[in-house]
């Protein structure tokens, strides 16, 4: 287990380093410059050079990269157009646009994304897996058909369609739900939940559809396994057979997928955040790319990569806990 963990952590760090280098190179491969974006169309070449210098973009790429890495581990000083700023580790630089430390932007937007994803996850894991398992047990019945029909419907809608429709129906027309907004949970838990309700429902329902179909298929397959027949042949009741024997085996691969999904979502749910005007990581990242805001691009990309890599390790370890046949090494 320890050997596995060390191996995977090494691999994860390598992945993150590789991603940071590639992102850096890609950024400079773009035939544009942050200076152009900031300065506007009618900017003189002298002015452009000035802005680039103030952002530190006139330095060689390798120097810029090593400075960036140094900032993360030990902090650095940044010369911003004559103003000397101390940036303590972990320093991800200053946003080209807002001039605030990128860590502040992340600190502000990450809780928004985490709030959306956590609630949506509760919705789609309970609704999705619950419906899928029930549909599998009642395979061929009206319930099964309605549940699966509905899930095909929801799976083929997109967040921006469903989100927009729900926003119109539940907020603007009827006022049943408050306009989506973010209040920190520490400040007012009720208002936090109220403001998140619509994103949770939207993202939750769309994912429920996928998880329902996945768990139905998985459960149907498991119910045909020999060990389920053995359990029935022992004289166990259908309830015990389904729960203790079938469900336990059917849910394992779903946990894996849910873990990987969680990792991907924590890096930002761009469309959901945009539809409901919530300033989460995803929206910041999208904006940063448009602005060619290098420090923020680097930060959001690395954060997203970190979540995916970390969740993969956690899922693998979890798998070994659930399935005794899996040996880590």
């Amino acid at each position: 287990m320890l050997r596995f963990l060390i191996k995977r952590l090494l691999l994860a760090s390598t992945t993150l380093v590789a991603i940071s280098i590639v992102t850096f190179l890609l950024f400079f491969a773009v035939p544009s410059s942050p200076a152009w974006v900031m300065c506007g169309r009618n900017c003189s070449p002298e002015r452009i050079a000035q802005v680039e210098q103030s952002l530190g973009l006139d330095q060689p790429i390798t120097k810029q990269y090593t400075d960036f890495v140094k900032g993360i581990f030990v902090g650095r000083t940044i010369n911003d157009a004559g103003t000397i700023r101390e940036c303590d580790a972990p320093c991800l630089g200053y946003s080209f646009r807002s001039k605030e430390p990128v860590t502040d932007t992340i600190e502000r937007s990450l809780p928004v994304t985490v709030s959306i994803v956590a609630g949506a996850m509760v919705v789609f894991l309970t609704v999705g897996i619950g419906l899928g398992m029930l549909a599998a047990l009642k395979k061929g019945t009206v319930f099964d058909r309605v549940a699966i029909g509905a899930s095909v419907g929801f799976a083929s809608t997109q967040t921006y369609t469903l989100g927009g429709v729900l926003l119109l129906l539940l907020v603007y027309s009827t006022g049943l739900l408050p306009n989506p907004h973010y209040t920190p949970i520490t400040q007012d838990p009720l208002d936090w939940a109220g403001g998140m309700l619509l994103p949770w429902i939207t993202l939750g329902l769309i994912n429920s559809a996928l998880y329902a179909r996945l768990s139905r298929a998985q459960m149907i397959e498991t119910l045909q396994e020999d060990f389920v027949r053995t359990a029935r042949a022992k004289g166990l009741s259908a309830r015990v057979v389904n729960r203790r024997h079938a469900l336990r085996a059917a849910i394992t691969p779903i946990i894996t997928i849910a873990g990987v999904d969680l990792g991907a979502y924590l890096g930002g749910v761009v469309i959901t955040e945009s539809v409901f005007s919530l300033n989460g990581i995803g929206r910041e990242a999208a904006q940063a790319v448009q602005d060619l805001n290098l420090p923020l691009v680097m930060a959001t990309v690395l954060l997203a990569a970190f979540f995916i890599v970390a969740m993969n390790i956690i899922v693998d370890m979890l798998y070994a806990v659930i399935d005794p046949r899996v040996r880590l090494g």
Binding site: E225, D226, F227, R229, T230, A231, R232, A233, K234, G235, L236, S237, A238, V240, H245, R248, A249, I322, D323, P324, R325
Partner: protein, 357 residues
């Protein structure tokens, strides 16, 4: 054991623990009605072993599943009678069936790796089988019982083994554990569905011996389902040969192995390599494949594969042969050919091969 087609009440041993009369199992599907079992009658006494022989799709496994009441009643039509210890289980409520399953009737499955749950320890799975029929037993009692059973079926260090998962067992050990699980409640009837098919030959013999030992000890009735005539000749007292859901020949193991009368039984025997017969004689496979159970050939369902079909004019193709006495008491065969013709053909074509003697 005695057997015949319906109405066969008189032919079934009324003392037998398991009595099956004119059992029919049908599955309605979109393609048509699958007649998986189409009228079988047999009985097994405690302490006796019945071998049910046939190819895949002959209805032998479906028969065994219906004795445990494992078919989904919504998707299966079962008629006839299955009497276990005097209780007819056809049409019985699921709750009552659950009390029988694993307690009065237990099953040993073919592939113990897939038949045991991969996530639970072997001891826990056996203990669970015990506890479901002994609700008042404590967890500790059930575990002790599981370890005892593992010891009884010849697993060394049962205490340690009980704490392991199925994948940590070898194939033979897994099948022993499966047997321990089946026997944990001292069932009066044990159905073994191809219990040795997935095992090495050397291990097969050990498992069969173990089953015989346990049968002597517990006086259980055993149904041995197999396509392996070697297994049948070793353990069975009586044999039922099935083809396309119907019985084609029944009798004592000696009658079936030494004086078989049905061309299908001849085919099965001639396709078994024999160590004792003439080594230069080629194996004779049965040509063709088992028929679709939705669309059975008219007449004798074996006729497309039978070398002797048509010996009696058109009867093979138009009339379904009934199971009839074949000379000796207890020996029945469903074939249109006359006793004399069968004797002659057997002597001329089959016997010299020295099959499975």
């Amino acid at each position: 054991m005695t057997t015949s087609t319906s109405p066969a009440a008189a032919a079934v041993d009324p003392e037998a623990y398991l009595q099956v009369r004119d059992l029919k199992v049908q599955f309605p599907t979109e393609d048509g009605l699958v007649r998986a079992v189409d009228g079988v009658t047999f009985s097994v006494r405690r302490g006796q072993t019945l071998g049910i022989v046939g190819e895949s799709g002959s209805g032998k496994s479906v028969t065994s599943m219906s004795i445990l009441g494992l078919h989904n009643p919504a998707r299966t039509k079962i008629t006839g009678e299955i009497s276990i210890g005097g209780k007819n289980i056809v049409g019985m409520k699921e709750q009552q069936l659950q009390r029988l399953r694993g307690k009065d009737v237990a099953m040993i499955f073919q592939d113990p790796l897939s038949a045991l749950h991969p996530y639970y320890k072997v001891g826990a799975q056996i203990a669970e089988a015990y506890k479901v029929h002994h609700p008042s037993a404590s967890k500790k009692e059930a575990t002790t019982r599981a370890v005892d059973m593992l010891d009884r079926v010849g697993i060394p260090q049962p205490q340690r083994r009980a704490n392991q998962y199925p994948h940590e067992f070898s194939g033979g050990m897994r099948q022993r554990a499966m047997i321990a699980m089946a026997l944990v409640n001292d069932p009066a009837l044990v159905i073994a569905d191809e219990p040795t098919t997935a095992l090495d030959v050397t291990v097969q013999a050990q498992i069969l011996e173990l089953l015989e030992d346990l049968q002597r000890e517990f006086q259980s009735a055993i149904i041995m389902i197999t396509h392996d005539l070697g297994v049948v000749s070793q353990v069975a007292d009586d044999v039922l040969v099935m083809y396309a859901g119907r019985p084609v020949e029944t009798g004592s193991v000696e009658q079936i192995m030494k004086r078989p009368q049905h061309p299908y039984t001849w085919g099965l025997l001639a396709s078994v390599p024999s160590l004792h017969g003439d080594a230069t004689v080629d194996l004779v496979p049965i040509k063709g494949n088992p028929p679709s159970l939705i669309n059975l050939p008219t007449g004798c369902s074996f006729n497309p594969r039978c070398r002797y079909a048509g010996q009696n004019g058109n009867r093979s193709f138009s009339e379904v042969p009934e199971l009839r006495p074949a000379g000796e008491p207890g020996h029945n065969v469903a074939c249109h050919m006359s006793f004399e013709t069968r004797q002659r053909l057997y002597a001329e074509d089959i016997a010299h091969a020295g099959v499975a003697q």
